[in-house]
Symmetry: C2
Subunit: 352 residues, 2 copies
């Protein structure tokens, strides 16, 4: 429904691989003095540093991770970068470089890749990250992106998943469940469009949800906020697979349990109203929705005063001893064991 059928079409074969990379990346700026050599040699060079380097990588595949019938290519480029930067921020680091590898079938003209790279460039400019390399090739089917992000952090600043301690507060940034509901809205519109291509969707009631799905932001601001507040989390992770799955990673690696309070989960009003519309339980969506790219972390209870009234942060529970398990305390004050309903692409992926 977002596809423009009248677009220009320049074949990728005309440019060749080197011409293509040059064309797509010529307007990218470099922001970090650590980037000694970017695109154009066998490898990129990053200068020596007294800081540790953080490395993370993600693969995004059309038909598995994104659907171009409602994901504009520019948004896809932006989101693909966010997904990776989010992992650097989840280590309490500063993202400085990315590499971007893409493969596309001959269905995609040059103009499509220009859109994709416009989104990548916007992400780089906004987050002050340098594109330093990658690979560009053809695929036998559809589009895929593989991005690696490189960041820095002082050794003593790095926050792993395994440092949570009983009595620590469990804190989450932003709100939960929006990205998942945005996807549900877009999937519904796609079906309506397939039945009636003339229909004009009215998406005003879902703008926040759709933005959460199509243009998520990695929470660099939260890493900076924590520094300002002089709070160093004991454990941290980003929420890509849903709150339940992520808190369970922290607890398992920290050898602790947790209590999460249902009435503390931060939900946007659109999440509440749209959950009702879809006849879904908003708590379930907040716990298992995924793709929110918020930061989930634990802090010593002594930091309560620094955290409690910050509008960007919600205290949703606390860490307990491992033998107490990992539980949700419902509004009715019942304890229910958390389950990781994280996305398993091997179960849900398309069949060959």
């Amino acid at each position: 429904m977002l596809e423009d059928k009248n677009q220009e079409r320049t074949s990728l074969a005309e440019l060749g691989e080197f011409g293509l990379i040059n064309h797509l990346t010529e307007h990218f700026k470099l922001y970090n003095s650590s980037t000694t050599k970017g695109i154009g040699d066998d490898a990129a060079v990053i200068s020596a540093s007294e800081k540790e380097r953080l490395i993370t990588t993600d693969l995004l595949i059309e038909g598995v991770h994104f659907d171009l019938s409602y994901m504009p290519l520019k948004h896809l480029g932006y989101k693909a970068v966010m997904v990776n930067l989010s992992d650097v921020y989840a280590m309490n680091g500063v993202a400085e470089q990315i590499t971007v590898s893409i493969a596309v079938s001959n269905r995609f003209p040059l103009e499509a890749l220009e859109e994709l790279y416009a989104g990548i460039q916007l992400a780089c400019d906004t987050y002050k990250v340098d594109l330093i390399g990658g690979d560009t090739t053809s695929s036998t089917k559809g589009m895929l992106l593989s991005i690696t992000a490189i960041g820095t952090a002082n050794k003593e600043e790095i926050v792993y998943r395994n440092g949570a301690k009983p009595t620590d507060l469990i804190v989450v940034s932003g709100d939960l469940g929006g990205a998942y509901l945005g996807l549900q809205v877009l999937e519904r519109e796609k079906q309506v469009f397939q039945v009636n291509p003339e229909s004009q969707p009215d998406l005003d009631a879902y703008t926040y949800l759709i933005e959460r799905q199509l243009k998520p932001e990695a929470r660099k601001d939260i890493v900076e906020l924590l520094k300002e507040l002089d709070v160093k989390p004991t454990a941290m992770i980003d929420i890509s697979d849903g709150l339940s799955s992520e808190i369970m990673h922290i607890c398992t690696q920290s050898k602790t349990g947790c209590k999460i309070y249902e009435d503390k989960l931060p939900l946007d009003p659109q999440v509440i109203s749209t959950s009702e519309e879809f006849n879904m339980d908003s708590t379930m969506i907040a716990l298992s929705g995924g793709e929110d790219y918020e930061l989930l972390f634990t802090v010593p209870i002594a930091d309560f005063e620094k955290i409690k009234s910050n509008p960007n942060l919600s205290i949703i529970g606390h860490v307990v001893e491992q033998n107490q398990g990992m539980n949700l305390v419902t509004r009715a004050d019942q304890e229910i064991e958390l389950k990781a309903q994280g996305w398993n692409t091997f179960k849900e992926g398309a069949q060959e």
Copy 2:
């Protein structure tokens, strides 16, 4: 023809993504003290260093870059790592870490991925490289691998493509054209097999060529040799797209020309005999074959004595002024302009 139809089949969905990664990587060793944190958090952590970091990445896609009907999965895993390490060595660096992202369709059982990772592990063990992260997901078609390699080098040791100077000698390691001819032999056998599945191929005359195609080695040894010889190249690149294409990269970036001598090109006897059998010109194959993963570099003429009698190195020409062009001097003493016939996947890739 190399596929074993009686293999065990364990569905990937049974394990899920986290179980799968743990299963595939549990036997990998860590060799480098710089690897502070490998797989298991939002990002890997590499310790601070006084050396520069080198970063390179490559994407390999079934049906574009490899054909599993004659590429055993263990070899594919090994080769995919080599392709990336080769780029680190081409900077005169030491490879220390890799990340490996893979996507596979449901056609692949767990046992197939175990084979793939056995090859990756063999490469890591042989080259003393640590697997520190990656992503594992499903694809809608076939298999793809995205590998990022990370290396180190002292700032003054790094060799770029742009440092060649007129009068520099042009040197190549090993011999050329073998990997391309190995591919031709395997493609021919595949066609024979498709006509007559009972045929038993006799590949004894092509063992070297097939090994060059299926199990290339990245030339870490040459980087070490150059250090022993106290030779620092002025420019260096690895030969993935063919000698012509690579020397042209060096000349273009160094703003020079070159003369390459046909009678100096290092050819294995199997390359010569098999070129004749395929009715191909062995010089053409050496210039444009690709996938040799040898190192091509330039050294000051003052280093001639250090290089000349080394059995691993061939002096194939010299650097000239840019206005003299980039030429091959034939056995008949004629000058022919070099052309980059490097592989363009956008022209040759499969159609969607």
